[in-house]
Symmetry: C2
Subunit: 414 residues, 2 copies
């Protein structure tokens, strides 16, 4: 390989997606490779928030529940998000948190398995994002019908963990640390062969890689909007229930927003038809409204184009790190295989935390995950090829010069 910065600049000039960066307000002097944790701010968000707060809330007040469409926003935004994940518009709701939505999806899946009392195991990975495991534990512990969570140690161990006792296979599509991407269709088919249902967490997939939930015949999915979808810090998450499961889908967080007639004030719960039954309580309107600013950027392109750029960015990063930082104890964690790679790249380094702090101090913002993992997110809607070059050069200088503090104090990270 013999790539120069000039080559990277040329690739940016030829990149049909490059203009999308103008939709975002990125701080000067920063190479932001952490969009897999918190997406950058769409420029439209500030004006949208001002309109929601000053006009919809301040002036129109209570009438905005109807006139500004606040009440329908979870379903309307779900409809906009749906094509990014291979879902139909009436199958997605933007609401609550990923953790809460996972609880609903898992509970709904477990309930659909109730006819077979032997199906009491929720299978997931030990390396799954912890809150997914915790929510599964919470549900299993509260059911107290012998439900347990079985953790497998690697993707290769999943097939052997499935059996007649499996109720649900719960997987995060793209692993938050390694960037490993599961074969959703193959694992769903395998789960179905064993009579199990699947729940997919798309936190690191939605807006990052093409997802085809219907093509994979998946059963349920959840995900977040504040990473690659750029919906804002802690923005409401989403839940997907396909039409074929909606009639049978029941979940215990049966709040009034999921009621068939929420304003009749009936003293007993009756779920509405469709994805609405995945809703629970009143949603945080301002944060919810900002999700649309992120989704509107995606309406200008498609996931195939974004995927091509994402792979080009991560290929370039891997190649440059291995070439220009050769000799340093860096270990590639993320699969080289395109079919198994998400949109972030992780390298281990014995002083990964310290090196990441040095990178951040020099304006290259990635993040750190235990153990020893430096994580770099590549967001095809705003990351440029020249930024990849510059980030690697800064990494190279830090490593060549030992310009990091091995005693760097640990802060909290998210």
């Amino acid at each position: 390989m013999d790539i120069s910065r000039t080559d990277c600049v040329a690739r940016d000039a030829a990149d049909p997606l490059a203009p999308l960066r103008d939709s975002f307000d990125l701080p000067a002097g920063i190479i932001y490779l952490d969009g897999n944790s918190l997406g950058a701010r769409p420029k439209a968000a500030l004006a949208r928030a001002a309109d929601v707060i000053a006009r919809e809330w301040g002036t129109d007040l209570i009438t905005s529940w109807n006139t500004a469409g606040w009440f329908d926003m979870p379903k309307r935004l779900g409809g906009k998000l749906a094509p990014l994940i291979g879902a139909l518009p009436g199958e997605v709701a933007v609401t609550d948190t990923t953790s809460v939505n996972l609880f609903k999806a898992l509970a709904g899946a477990v309930a659909m398995q109730a006819a077979d009392p032997c199906r009491t195991t929720i299978v997931t990975e030990r390396s799954n994002f912890p809150t997914d495991i915790y929510m599964a534990e919470g549900l299993a512990g509260w059911l107290r019908r012998g439900h347990t969570v079985r953790l497998v140690d690697s993707p290769e161990d999943i097939p052997a963990a499935l059996g007649p006792d499996t109720a649900v296979l719960l997987l995060t599509h793209v692993n938050y640390r390694t960037g490993h991407m599961h074969d959703m269709a193959a694992l769903t088919a395998l789960a179905h062969e064993h009579g199990a249902l699947t729940v997919w967490d798309l936190a690191h997939s939605a807006g990052a890689v093409p997802v085809d939930l219907h093509g994979a015949n998946a059963d349920f999915a959840v995900g977040c909007t504040y990473k690659y979808l750029n919906g804002g810090p802690g923005a409401p998450a989403f839940i997907w229930v396909p039409e074929r499961h909606q009639g049978a889908f029941m979940q215990p967080l049966s709040g009034w927003w999921g009621h068939a007639t929420p304003f009749a004030m009936a003293p007993s719960f009756a779920p509405c038809a469709g994805i609405g039954r995945a809703l629970c309580g009143t949603q945080p309107v301002v944060s919810l409204a900002l999700v649309e600013c992120g989704l509107d950027v995606f309406a200008q392109t498609d996931m195939a184009a974004l995927r091509a750029k994402s792979l080009a960015l991560t290929d370039l990063f891997i190649a440059l790190v291995e070439e220009r930082c050769a000799g340093h104890p860096l270990g590639l964690v993320t699969p080289r295989d395109h079919a198994r790679r998400g949109s972030h790249v992780s390298f281990t380094h014995p002083h990964g935390y310290a090196v990441m702090q040095a990178l951040i101090a020099r304006g290259v913002v990635g993040d750190y995950r235990e153990p020893h993992i430096m994580r770099f997110g590549f967001t095809p809607v705003y990351t440029s090829f020249a930024e990849v070059w510059d980030a690697v050069e800064i990494l190279k200088h830090i490593l060549d010069d030992n310009a990091y503090d091995v005693n760097a104090a640990r802060g909290t990270v998210t």
Copy 2:
């Protein structure tokens, strides 16, 4: 009684709380008597949102989880809210929705009763806000250990409904329709005599009436911030777990924000100490931040002063309606007894829906609740005595002139 508009204007001039209205941006030409549904916008909210979006999110990006205190915000805002409800700072978290928090509180209470397998009944009122009943049904149905929800028809029936099978007495402190306020201390004592725990919904109490959770020896409470606390549409709700119950409090929505070491990424849930174990997933930062703008207004006064004004406003409204609208078929639903009255007043009218639409068309914004109930909220931080006078005059003219459309189409209302 012989009160004139001039008297009302004089009362406003003498009202020490009157200056608080300047903290709010209320639309011109509107008498807003619906702060019990959606509180008005604090002026500070617009600048606060701009700062969170432009600087904390846009510029500081991921670092704001620490530097801007995003991660600690649920507990920090809980500490600000605590004195309004007779709680200690480390006992309240602002998070999720009222419905979701109610699920946590109910589940936690039921779990604390698990040693007595006969305690399987959740007692509440048929007239409770429906989502509270629905969430109790959802929990009971999922426990499948014989748990049921028992609905009582009136406050007087509560004592007889309690017994050795009662796990939890779940009540909304101030009824959303009638404005009736329960005696929290007496009913909590009664529940405790029967070995039951109490869960109080403070949706229509927090910021509206003095609440003394510790004085009442209550067990758990939840509430919302978007009504009298003026936190913004759908702003995150709150949950209170007193210190004496925190060690035993376990709830099934065991997400990573409630973990003892959330960033250690441990593959098994271990609850943190304190109120943090009531947290679940990542919170909607922009909506959450705006809650503080509402709470900051309350820091300028105290609930005793607000209560005195609230009662003066509701007394005045009741007296003026009964005097000036005499002869019209209006029925006072709200208790006259100060000890049993919240901060809104409800009147029935055979054409309540139509009359309310006519009021709204003339700038008096209250709302309608089935059946036949016109509901008027009095928010002591911004409602004036002259507004009460003017609202009644407009109501009088509508009724005197039959100036309402009995066939008015029903929209959705919240």
